[in-house]
């Protein structure tokens, strides 16, 4: 292996090699960090949200001429929707789920304020059909009863109910020392001030809070802190949200059916654009997808440009050194010796580049760690990236290197 002479030669003609090394280093550093972040985004997108995303849809409806007592009217709407064949269940709900926004409340498990046990949870409000309509499993305790659902008059701000359903993660966070089954029946206290407690009547499987995709320590910890209250709010003309769950495959058809039924019940309805839960989730995750796509595109372009750079420099070198190549052949180099020369040169350059690049990648990772909320990167990514660059470098240099082997020995004897 002619490492020494190749190194000497490169050192005496530094510019090209330095440029390629830098490109390789930067590309490695960027690609590694990009892949890491892309992975993070995809993980975030893949996190289970806890409800039946594919089969639920939400309608935001209001009445232009509202009766004073909305309770029977809403109950009737709900009954009618539930009766439609193909609808698994329906519930009234206070706001969109998994939309990146929503209400949040803080509770503490002890009556004295001033302890660090307060947890903030994402909250929503449903009726007694809520769990089934959302597709959330009840693990311990019981669901709301029909008589526990509060129907406050419009424009009134009613206090919290006496009962609540919470997720398993939240239950364990409130009472880390208890068996989960024993948490049923315990109470929690709202806010910072000593007020009436709320009883935990049931514990459900985990549902994602609205901040599940946020970039913060809090969001990590509280990702599945979720509470359901038995209440039907009607803010003035904001209308109400009806959520219904359909059998698989029937969603499109049933969205039309539900719309028709609602118009049938009250022709002067106002409809906000009907949305499926899947669409809402899609929109909420836009940011994650966008980051992944942007990073992916730039990484790809960078790899391409570096590859072209290697091809370019290698071609240039072959052209510049045609005479030298011919001379070497005249002196007895076989074709594979010439090929090996260029491949070894390329491997050397790539090696220097990836060593620099690995250090740079780690440095960048530390910097990102300080400005974004991300976990530490696994070191397995670096060798993977390094391998890619070796393969890339090899593929890029192969063409020019093969051309070099085709230089005839007789070239050496031509005069300039």
């Amino acid at each position: 292996m002619e490492i020494r002479p190749i190194a000497s030669s490169m050192l005496r003609n530094r510019t090209g090699p330095i440029l390629i090394c830098l490109q390789i280093a930067l590309t490695l550093a960027l690609v590694i960090n990009s892949i890491f972040i892309i992975q993070l985004q995809m993980e975030k997108i893949a996190r289970p949200l806890g409800t039946d995303i594919d089969n639920t849809a939400i309608f935001n409806v209001a009445l232009v001429d509202r009766p004073d007592d909305m309770e029977p009217f809403i109950k009737n709407d709900m009954d009618e929707i539930r009766r439609i064949p193909g609808v698994v269940d329906a519930t009234i709900i206070a706001q969109f789920l998994h939309s990146g926004g929503g209400s949040a409340l803080s509770f503490r498990p002890v009556s004295e304020p001033g302890d660090d046990l307060t947890k903030t949870a994402s909250v929503n409000e449903v009726d007694e059909h809520g769990l089934n309509a959302l597709g959330v499993e009840l693990l311990y305790g019981r669901n709301f009863r029909a008589d526990e659902i509060l129907y406050p008059a419009p424009n009134t701000q009613v206090g919290l109910s006496e009962v609540v359903l919470i997720t398993e993660s939240l239950a364990k966070a409130f009472f880390p020392d208890s068996e989960t089954a024993d948490i049923v029946g315990k109470v929690v206290y709202p806010g910072d001030v000593d007020t009436t407690p709320v009883e935990i009547i049931g514990i459900t499987a985990d549902v994602a809070a609205q901040w599940i995709n946020y970039d913060s320590e809090f969001a990590e910890e509280a990702a599945y802190y979720f509470m359901l209250f038995p209440r039907v709010q009607t803010y003035n003309d904001d209308g109400h949200y009806y959520l219904f769950r359909t059998e698989p495959g029937a969603q499109d058809r049933l969205m039309a059916a539900v719309t028709d039924k609602l118009y049938e019940i009250a022709p002067d309805r106002l409809f906000w654009e009907p949305t499926t839960q899947a669409e809402i989730v899609q929109e909420t995750q836009q940011g994650n997808r966008a980051i992944a796509t942007i990073l992916g595109v730039i990484s790809l372009l960078m790899v391409m440009i570096t590859a072209f750079g290697i091809v370019g420099l290698a071609s240039f070198t072959v052209n510049q050194r045609t005479r030298q190549i011919g001379t070497r052949r005249a002196l007895g180099a076989k074709k594979r010796d010439i090929l090996r020369y260029f491949l070894v040169e390329n491997v050397m350059l790539t090696t220097i580049g990836v060593v620099l690049g690995s250090a740079l990648a780690y440095g960048i990772h530390l910097f990102l760690f300080s400005i974004m909320h991300i976990p530490k990167m696994s070191f397995a990514l670096i060798p993977a990236g390094v391998l890619v660059l070796y393969v890339l470098g090899f593929a890029a240099v192969l063409g020019p290197a093969l051309r070099a082997t085709a230089v005839a020995p007789a070239v050496a004897s031509r005069t300039v």
Partner: protein, 237 residues
């Protein structure tokens, strides 16, 4: 040492056929010092290339040391070039990015010698040409004459059976040219066969023997003829 009988070389393009060598025959013995002369375009460089296995030939027989050189594959001819033949070019053809030591090292690495062996040979041949004090210098730091001497050292380092020199003094002034020729003389006296292509009459005179080439054929294989350029030949019996 080297025998050619009826060797021909044809360059073909779409439209033209050029006979660079036709029915070329020559015999060169061990220890010979032959100057190949002739006008430009006569085919002497082609002859050297074929002799040095830099190019293939189309017809005839070429034997080197009794071994048939026809139809050799690339690997084999490279090996023979590496082990048995040394080249000296008009434009030196040193690697500009390698120092003298590394330059002489080039063919030795292809030989497969161990490091110690290579070092010994390099130091010996650079000493032989009088440049062992400049081993770490780059070719750009040397004069033309010195560069050619390095090239000679490179050609000698592998102990070749014959040296092929193509206009070795073409790029040198007369003083340097003389030095190079002296060196070649010495090398020849020590036993290495030398075939030298030149269009310089004075140089040709210093060789033991001349072969004059004209239009791809040997003009007069034995006699020394002080020729004027580009004039038709008269055979002197």
């Amino acid at each position: 040492m080297l025998t050619m009988k009826g060797v021909s070389k044809i360059y073909r393009t779409d439209l033209i056929e050029t006979h660079a060598l036709r029915d070329f025959s020559v015999e060169i013995g061990d220890g010979d010092f032959v100057a190949v002369t002739g006008p430009s375009g006569s085919g002497k460089t082609t002859l050297l290339n074929i002799a040095g296995l830099l190019e293939s030939f189309d017809g005839g027989v070429y034997e080197l040391d009794g071994v048939d050189m026809h139809g050799l594959n690339d690997d084999d001819s490279s090996e023979i070039r590496n082990e048995q033949i040394g080249f000296i070019f008009q434009s030196f053809n040193l690697m500009p990015d390698l120092n003298l030591f590394e330059n002489v090292d080039v063919p030795l690495r292809y030989r497969g010698f161990k490091a110690a062996e290579r070092k010994r040979r390099i130091e010996e041949s650079l000493e032989r040409v009088g440049l062992s004090g400049r081993m770490k210098h780059l070719p750009s730091q040397l004069s033309g004459g010195q560069q050619q001497r390095v090239a000679i050292a490179r050609a000698l380092a592998g102990s070749p059976k014959m040296l092929l020199a193509d206009e070795p003094t073409g790029n040198l002034d007369s003083l340097m040219a003389r030095q190079v020729l002296d060196l070649l003389d010495e090398i020849n006296r020590e036993g290495t066969t030398i075939i030298m292509v030149t269009h310089d009459d004075e140089l040709a005179r210093r060789a033991k023997r001349n072969v004059h080439v004209l239009d791809g054929k040997v003009d007069d294989p034995t006699a020394y003829q002080p020729q004027q350029r580009d004039q038709p030949v008269e055979v002197i019996a």
